[in-house]
Subunit: 323 residues, 5 copies
């Protein structure tokens, strides 16, 4: 579990890491924006101590610690609580939970897994890149959510590429791994959708909250994130329809092959079965079989056989069953 604190105002910025909450809080200074980040959620005491200091509701603490929590945004008296999933390839299911407590001049973030997802933002603060140092804590919250939402698009781009590979495989009749692979991709889409849809709803709620914690000039920024999330959700639906289409192509391909196999069997069988019967007839050992003694019987039988075979082929040709 790692604790870090960043302070900044338009004039400067500093960063400290701490071992204990007491040490962490000693670094606070009253001016500018304070950003406290907690990496890892195992140590409940640290979270409780922070919650007590910043008067965070017990339900919020529960939500922060429950990593199965569904994305949501809630307004409390003193803060807005935002929790959602971020893409994290180090995690088992591909996601980690990020929780944000947005107060007037302070932002506390909780990461499920320790990692460096926030480093680019930290660098922008310390290097004074862009306008982030000039803005208040709500802009910092926006920046964090925005960069996490951008990761969704990257994850979807990755999936789109996998779908393209599947597109080529859909017409391969011998690819037995196709269907399981397609289903695996489909389930990956369900998993990402289950975290995107509630976020879309929550952001919609956020846009209609009349809170002094989010300044009026930040509305377009949050609306922009909302649009991105909507677009992500639409892309997911598009991918799902593509996959459904690929499955239909593959099933039709399989069925086509079956048809072809059946046709070959039918043609060969129906031509030779009658001929074999005729050969069998003249292989019988009856004493009195007049044909056997006829001079050209053998050649006549051959002729009859050829006529039957040609007739069969003509029948199949008329039915367009010849390959």
């Amino acid at each position: 579990m790692q604790l870090s604190i960043i302070g900044y105002d338009p004039l400067g910025a500093w960063k400290k890491t701490a071992e204990t909450v007491d040490e962490l809080l000693s670094y606070r200074n009253p001016s500018g924006v304070t950003w406290i980040n907690v990496d890892g959620l195992e140590n409940g005491d640290v979270i409780n101590q922070l919650a007590e200091t910043y008067r965070i509701h017990s339900l919020t603490v529960e939500d922060i610690r429950d990593v199965e929590q569904r994305p949501k945004i809630e307004e409390f008296d003193d803060y807005i609580f935002i929790t959602f999933k971020a893409v994290n390839h180090a995690s088992e299911n591909g996601f980690e939970q990020i929780s944000i407590v947005l107060m007037r001049d302070t932002l506390i973030t909780f990461q499920e897994l320790s990692g460096d997802s926030f480093n680019p933002i930290r660098r922008r603060i310390l290097d004074n890149a862009g306008r982030i140092r000039k803005m208040s804590a709500d802009y910092l919250a926006y920046t964090i959510i925005d960069s996490m939402v951008d990761e969704y698009s990257l994850a979807l781009d990755d999936m789109s590429m996998k779908i393209e590979t599947l597109e080529e495989r859909a017409l391969d009749e011998n690819d037995e791994a196709f269907m399981p692979d397609l289903q695996r991709l489909k389930q990956a889409l369900i998993r990402i959708r289950i975290i995107v849809l509630p976020l879309r709803e929550s952001l919609n709620v956020l846009l209609h909250i009349e809170s002094p914690l989010i300044k009026h000039n930040l509305r377009p920024f949050f609306k922009d994130i909302h649009d991105n999330v909507i677009q992500t959700a639409e892309t997911i639906e598009g991918c799902r329809e593509l996959l459904a289409g690929l499955m239909e192509i593959n099933l039709a391909t399989m069925s086509n092959r079956m048809n072809k196999v059946m046709k070959v069997l039918t043609i060969i069988s129906t031509i030779f079965i009658p001929l074999t019967f005729i050969a069998g007839v003249y292989g019988m050992n009856f004493r009195f079989m007049p044909e056997l003694d006829m001079r050209y019987a053998y050649f006549i039988v051959w002729g009859v056989m050829l006529v039957i075979a040609a007739g069969m082929l003509a029948f199949f040709k008329r039915r367009k069953w010849l390959f």
Copy 2:
């Protein structure tokens, strides 16, 4: 049918059981919160007597006694009526009905089946664990609903594990029990969904009721239950999609096997049918068959047969039908 009564305030707590409603009511004392619990719904007189004492509407009494009642929350003049299903493995269909009548300082609960589902809550009251003794009757209602809703999640976790077992079986071509098992799980999901969806709706209604019976600082708690129920509903939908995917995989697996069986049949048949025909021809007993007397005819015929077989195999290889 069992009657019990619990009284508590921040200073103390007591519990009594009673044989009759009169005895039960004699234990009431005016201060603090009173929680009356009725186990079993067979004895209509008991319910009617309680309804008369606490002025409960006749329709509410009907709803309490009708165990087929769909989950709902209704506001009456003097009380809020909440009825829903709780997971109970002792029950035939896996659920029992819980009804709650929430009044100012009194809470009456009706359980369809006698059991110990409420024991942990009773213990928290009597042992003064957590904040429950400091709170009013609405918090008690919240605690009861919350613990029942948590059971849904556990039931779903159980189902998720069963789905995982099915995932492994979906690719087994010989598992004829797969489809019925999958359908059984699907129907279990339908059954749980039918009790979760109306509860979600009802809780939404509850969140917008402006009733003095639910204090303002309890709103976040009821919102939290609502979120849990929404998440449960989403998990159910997710499970349904997973099952649909598994069915598709299984159907594709079955179809694949069919294809393979057909291929083997086709290959063996199409190779040997023409050869058998040739053998049949030279098994005919015509007197004048010039080939029969040729010196190497037998070996030539063998040669022709091998060429035909090889040609067939090459044709199948080109078509990628060889296994």
Copy 3:
């Protein structure tokens, strides 16, 4: 066409039948609630005469007479018009149309088919059972709708039993009547749904009508009917999903059988076709076939055949195709 009139107040109740509308109206007396019932809709004059007397809108008259009318509830200046379908097994399609015109102290009901559906309610009035005699005309309307809606549940219970029978038949491979029976049940569900869904909507509208014709203390009663209708609609959806599941099981069962039939054919064919070919070879009549004169050739050939058959069986066993 039958005309009847019932009058009641808390003190007494009486019932008369009449031949003509004039006779019917002559029985009216000013105190208490008057309930006029018209059985059968063939005689337009009777309905028109009543409509004129009670100032019923021409569109309402049209709706009463149109037995294809979809369930609806409409508020007019002087009355509320309610029309819906009741279960009636005597009817061709299983339903009859009931129309109710609810006025201040008068209720007129129109039944499509003469029957005794209302008898239990009449008896409750005449026998002063329950509270019905103490209540006004709106409670009578509630009682009628409620008893008709209860019939839906009974009809659905009946269907549930039929579905259970189908459940057992779904796994029977030889039951060719299964699919048509299932479709028949499905269409019965569609028919009942088509009359329940609009009623649900209409009752929702009724709950939000601010009409002096429905007293405030009757709201919970109408809400109760609404809940019943919602539950009926949900049960219908549940039944539909069950049927969809049964169809999937049945299709899988059929496909399984096909697979088994194919397997038997494949195994027998692929084992014997090569053996028959070998027998054919040594049935050829070439003069020079060295094997024919060998001492143990016949037994060697038998040995070869047994080896081939055993090899085939081993191959099938490895592929798990043996039954």
Copy 4:
């Protein structure tokens, strides 16, 4: 292109046809309701001239002339514009476009195709049948829309009859035209739905327009049309579900037949293939085959063959594969 004008008030009614708009307009008289009808939309000048006279918006003119226009109702300052499709069997796609411009005392209707759809209404005006002569222009608009909407029901009744014919054919295994016929009916339903659904929406909008052009006492009439259109839409959905069910029955029937064909093939093949093999064995020409010289070998072989055949049949009977 035909122009006609009808004038009426409670006292009288007259009808004129005209060649030019100028002639038409000369017939106008100030009292009562004026109904101008334009048959055919080819002559843009006529429409433009009328638009100028009655101050119709250029967009409305565009909508009148665009016969691909989707049904809609729009309120302008001086008029309400209503456009929808009417059933017309003379038309290529089965529908023609009707546009109505409803002004205070004037109604202008535009028909895509010249025909006699409005004749019954004209006769009711000229013959003073019903209340139409006593009412204002909005009632005329209602009458026109109502009679056109009634045609939808007739068209649907027609389709229902076709569906009933299909119902009988669904179980016919040899009816190859079934599926294309079903799809044709399905597409006809899609076509009619595409014109009914927007009309339902538009009428809903109309019911909430607060316009002096539609008098308050006409609301129930327009609500009545709305109900009819809703019922039509529900009937269409019902038909679609019926068709989906028929398709499922037909597919199951086809699959059943396939199963039966396969069974016959399997039974005949599996019984005779081993027997033929045995016959082949004893048709071999080896010099040393001890069985050939045995006295009763031939009859023993026959016995063995019969035992094998009986065993096969018993196996099939146990598996319930015998037909």
Copy 5:
């Protein structure tokens, strides 16, 4: 990257092209409407310079440059921002992005690809065709969106024609390219739908914006575009249902063919397999086979064979399996 500027008022119009933004801005004159068009989005500096001059929000600039942006309409303090996709066959995916910034007297348009899509509008301005020169900048915005939306209809007409071609191919049993072609069309529909649906939503928002930038008399025009987009969306849904129907027809056709192939195989096999067995029996070489020496045995066997074959054919005929 091309810059052009057009100025017009009811009295006159002029057009200039420029190399740099400074040059472009020097052409502005205060009276009338100014339309600045930017072709190509590569040069960020040009867009930034324009954004600075016209005080365009940084998020708008981002949206203009992001060609993956989903169609949307946003109101800012000084302008309305509209972005959507236009059909452009020169583009890789068939679409290009158009962004419009609508200010009081100025309209700035950004095209993703340089092309001549706006030429007809430019000509209408310069030639003073229609009313465009008399109207303000909002009418210009309407004209541009309207002409782009019209292109959607053309693209859909093109697709409808392709669907008609598919309709003919759906019944062709040998058309293996059918399913992939159908899926390709389906995906083209998904692509166009993904750009039409958000536009429909956005235009709905636009219709409810109370902005001085869109004059009241332009409302009907924007409502008209909205209706067109709704109609386009409905056409897309209709096309999707048609394609789904075609797929069902094709699958049924394929299945029918399979059935026919199977029938031929079954009939030929089941007739000849028993006959061949009989021939095999009398081809056995047992020394003691009484039939072989009978005078008319051969002809009797022929008779038996014919009877068996006729019996089989009769059986098939009764089962209606003969083709």
